[in-house]
């Protein structure tokens, strides 16, 4: 299968640098799949699962916030957080889910607190679902 150069970097370092066959990420307007020869494209990332197909293997990761850019065949994925499925700390995700749920139970939250708690819950759920996928395979 034709491959394309893919780079994934986060503030913590380079997560992936090599040839990939397919990349599927969740953007703010839904999932986008990228294969070799994709037209130039820019999209902000949402919160969700990223699937990378390389050397016939499928890799999964939780990918939250950031930018996807395809320019002249080069794909750059610059997320704020990116965790490979096998590196996700599930206990931590469980804890932060619980924390966020507790926070949301409080009815007198300010708008900002509410948004923060919602984002936290969402992140935790994304992490958990990606980690679960790993187990069920």
């Amino acid at each position: 299968m034709t491959t394309f150069p893919l780079k994934i970097v986060t503030p913590d370092g380079l997560q992936f640098d090599g040839q990939a066959e397919e990349l599927i990420v969740r953007t703010t307007s839904g999932d986008i799949g990228v294969m070799a020869g994709h037209i130039n494209c820019v999209a902000p990332l949402g919160m969700g699962r990223a699937t990378i197909v390389t050397e016939g293997k499928k890799l999964y990761a939780a990918c939250i916030g950031g930018i996807l850019s395809v320019v002249n065949g080069e794909v750059k994925l610059v997320p704020t957080t990116f965790e490979w499925a096998d590196q996700i700390d599930k206990d931590r995700a469980d804890r932060s889910e619980q924390k966020a749920k507790n926070a949301l139970a409080d009815k007198n939250l300010s708008r900002m607190e509410l948004e923060m708690a919602e984002a936290k819950l969402k992140r935790a759920l994304v992490r958990k679902s990606v980690a679960d996928m790993m187990l069920n395979r």
Binding site: K7, V9, T10, P11, D12, G13, L14, T27, T28, S29, I32, I39, N40, C41, V42, A43, P44, G65, G66, I67, S69, V71, N72, K76, V78, T80
Partner: protein, 281 residues
């Protein structure tokens, strides 16, 4: 020995030795912190570079002129916002003063707003009565990735609201353990490069181009901010290590010098005593 008695010299040697111990300890602390900061900086550098080049690619290939952040929305006099990152503590050689002076000189005579990060930066600009954008980041060491993104969001919002028409960042680049360079960099508005015509390939924006820019630019700014912060942290520790290393060496030199003087004074006292005894008998 004229003037200084052996006892006085001994006291000075003793105080010098305790100073040396302190500088030595500080050097070792800085060295171990530097190792960690250096690892962080090398890890975050690809992010910094790829993010920057991705945005440059997008701007270069962009054919639409009416996107947010490409031009300032402000009318009237130019006003520039500076993000200045310095350290929280002194005793780091020229680290703090170099970056602060550079920024101050650049903004002299212009209408500038400062967002200081780090205690030294805050104190410096407060003393000079510069207009401050926010005072909530007095500890450069405590600023997290999340903080970077929330600062970026606030700055972007102010930029869109027309509070200033340029955003610049002043930081110290960590070149090597021995060399740290203070630099300023323009972050916003994004420069539209002149070769717009030939290299221009149409870009598909998902969803709308203006919406994409609105989402992406705060992320970009936050990322760059975090990268700059990592550079600064490493640079600070490197500067402190070098400064403390030379302080320790200086102390060593002075102790050697004083010991020589002490021995001379002691010998002179003995000689004098003998002369007195011989003369007396």
């Amino acid at each position: 020995m004229a003037g200084v008695s052996a006892k006085e010299i001994k006291n000075r040697i003793r105080s010098m030795e305790s100073t040396k111990q302190i500088t030595k300890a500080m050097e070792m602390v800085a060295a171990s912190k530097l190792r960690r900061a250096q690892m962080q900086v090398t890890a975050s550098r690809p992010y910094f570079e790829i993010l920057y080049s991705a945005i440059q690619d997008i701007v270069r290939n962009n054919t639409e002129n009416e996107l947010p952040y490409l031009h300032s929305v402000r009318k009237g006099e130019r006003r520039i916002a500076y993000i200045v990152i310095a350290g929280d503590r002194g005793l780091a050689g020229g680290y703090n003063s170099n970056i602060l002076k550079k920024c101050y000189e650049e903004m002299k005579g212009t209408d500038a707003v400062v967002l200081p990060v780090g205690k030294k930066a805050l104190d410096y600009f407060r003393a000079r009565k510069a207009a401050l954008f926010s005072e909530s980041y007095p500890e450069a060491e405590d600023v997290s990735v999340g903080d970077c993104f929330s600062v970026a969001k606030a700055l972007c919002k102010a930029f869109r609201a027309g509070e200033f028409d340029e955003i610049r960042i002043g930081y110290t680049r960590f070149v090597s353990v021995l060399s740290q360079v203070p630099e300023t960099m323009k972050l916003l508005p994004l420069d539209v490069v002149a070769d717009n015509e030939e290299g221009a390939a149409d870009i598909m924006y998902e969803p709308e181009s203006s919406e994409v820019f609105e989402k992406i630019i705060p992320e970009y700014l936050g990322g760059i901010l975090y990268g700059a912060l990592c550079e600064c942290r490493a640079a600070e520790q490197a500067a402190r290590r070098t400064a403390m290393d030379s302080a320790t060496k200086n102390a060593d030199e002075m102790i050697a010098d004083l010991s020589l003087k002490f021995n001379q004074a002691r010998q002179a006292a003995i000689t004098q005593e003998i002369t007195e005894i011989v003369a007396g008998s």
